[in-house]
Amino acid sequence: MTTTASEPRRTLILAEARDDSDVYAHPSVVALTERFGEVVRTVTRDAVGYPVVWIDPRQNASVLRFLRDDPAQSYDFLADVMGAHAGVGTPIQVWYQLWSMTHGRQLRVACEVPLEDLEVETVTDLWRAADWLERETWDMFGVTFRGHPDLRRILMPENYEEGFPLRKDFPLRGRFSRSEQVRRALSRSLEDVYAVEELEMAGYASSARPGPDGAAFAPAAGASWPPIRDLDPSQRPEDLVHDPLEGTPMIINMGPQHPATHGVLRLVLELDGERVMRCIPHIGYLHTGFEKTCEYREWNQVVPYTDRMDYLAPMLYNIGYAGAVERLLGVEVTDRCRVLRVILGELNRLLGHLLWLGTTAIDIGAFSVFLYTFQERERIYNLHEAYTGGRITTSVTRVGGMMADLPVGWATAAREFAATFPATVDEVERLLSKNAIWQGRLIDIGAIGAEDAISWGLTGPNLRASGVPYDVRKARPYLGYDEYDFDVPVGSKGDVYDRYLVRIEEMRQSVRILDQALARLPDGPINIDDYQIVLPPKSEAMGSIDTMISHFKLVMEGIRVPAGETWYSIESSKGELGFGIISDGGTKPVRCRFRGPSFNNIASLPAMVENELVADVIAINASLDVVLGEIDR
């Protein structure tokens, strides 16, 4: 939307958002009501605009199966499974966020599960992505997913006894005292650290206990060879002939403290010599309780928390979160703010990709690239610091605008960066892309096909390298991305080399967008002029009583977001970054869900890593470009 400089800015309330009648005309809603009748309890509207179908929780699997398999619906992509608890004693909501790659349609299927019967059927057979997402919903809310192959804690420790953290009756600081939490943390046994299947892989009876020093010890008496999982149920262990030349598989831990796992990720690898037979990732070592903590913060106070999740490209989180809350409020930011958010978003995409490039190169062995990319990142940090005061933790957006307007000369500095940056990408490409060692280590490693990638919920360059041209900036344009001229690189084989090429090309496209955005950065106010949402300038606050009251309420209470819910996503440097936000009309969110793309990306690692060498595990892990902050939240 455009206005001339002389017209006063008005906030645009999306009036049609309040009228739910058109959601009943949505083709999926029509099909569902026709087919399932009473199972569909009601249909509401997400603040973004697509319908939300509330169903009977006992039929969730059949409804979702229909939505995935019916050719007119074909919701082949499960973006998110999240739980939500409105208040103590209320039912727990389970949201399934769907996207159809073929039809380009978005839909949410939600159900309210009563506390006394907290069970729904699993959908892991429909989408591989549901595996970890349902585990997380179990971990945080206690909702049992009937039929799930491995329903155990994922973010909290295996032996966590304080309950289910995201429920409203769970206190923020946990149920036990701090000293008790420390004591429990340091007194973990082998069974608390390894999953049952891993203990079986090593040949332990599951009631084995470690020796007094906790060090490795011999398997329990009667442990079988080969490992239990390989046994055909009809065979008895005594009947098997042990091949004298075969090696026995070895189980090692890679991480959590490891230079090449890109964070505190733990991979339990079962190795046959150098070849990985099986990989079981353990996450949760960086679980920070962001989602719970943000329920205790005012809407603008959540922004600094969003920096710390993807600390490699923080402004993308700031921008996405502010965008989601603005959807709930029904406001559109000013033109200047919109273009500036695009500039900052693309700068941060470069920031994220540069770190990926540097750390991947150093993992594979090319150390100089790490130094070059970090030097470029320092230049972007200078821009961050000049604008926000912080290098990494920028907290640059506010609901309705930005923290402040740009300092004088910032746009010129940004233009200069955009002009000189491509030379570094070219230099790195000269070093790496045609390098025999680089190609030998990357080509045909960790390939994943398009259908598998969609089923696993991969997004971002990982998905595009497998040949699926899905980019949220093109599929559901926001911040005016449809007005910019840029391409989305798509690979073909889905191996590590394709992911590398896709990201290198994305950096070039980001510079392209940067150039266009910097050229069209308009003058004008940076914040909307609704003083119920943004802080008024002090001169006005001191001048008029209404403005002073607004200022007072904003400082003491914070903004109030009308009751509503939304699941809104943007394209971050790692993939589709989703924000599931529920408001009850108050000053704090009821539920603040962050769908970090790395969570689904890393869930697909075991599939990619099977039968690869240990060194390839590192290359594949690096190519997924994960950041543990948004996996563990």
């Binding site: 060090a215 490795a216 090692i252 831990n253």
Partner: protein, 118 residues
């Protein structure tokens, strides 16, 4: 008469003194605080699972053997390279034969797939 070897003697003595000095200094000046956890195997901070008394894959052995052979070959090449002028043509022919013999072995290993894992 033995003067050319004085340099080697000095090198050997300095080398031994260096290594012994470093180890001796650490031994004398370092702390000694053995605890059971400190002596336990390191596996990224997690208690290791399973024993290490497993049967290793034979491929590790093959890679190690190949490495030793080629490393010793390099070791033998160095003295020749230092004084190849004195050895002249005869030396060149000898070292070519040496490399050829080992090269045949390398080609054999290559063709048999010993350089691939598996």
């Amino acid at each position: 008469m033995l003067e050319p070897y004085l340099g080697i003697l000095i090198l050997a003595v300095v080398g031994v003194l260096n290594a012994a000095g470093m180890m001796g200094a650490s031994h004398l000046l370092g702390s000694r605080r053995p605890t059971t956890v400190k002596a336990s195997p390191y596996e990224s901070g997690i208690t290791p699972l399973g024993t290490t008394r497993e049967r290793f894959s034979v491929n590790f052995y093959i890679i190690a053997m190949l490495f030793i052979v080629l490393d010793i070959e390099t070791l033998f090449l160095i003295p020749w390279a230092m004084s190849f002028r004195e050895f002249g043509l005869a030396g060149l022919i000898e070292v070519t034969v040496f490399l050829g013999v080992l090269g045949v072995g390398l080609v054999y290993a290559w063709r048999r797939g010993a350089l691939e894992w598996d």
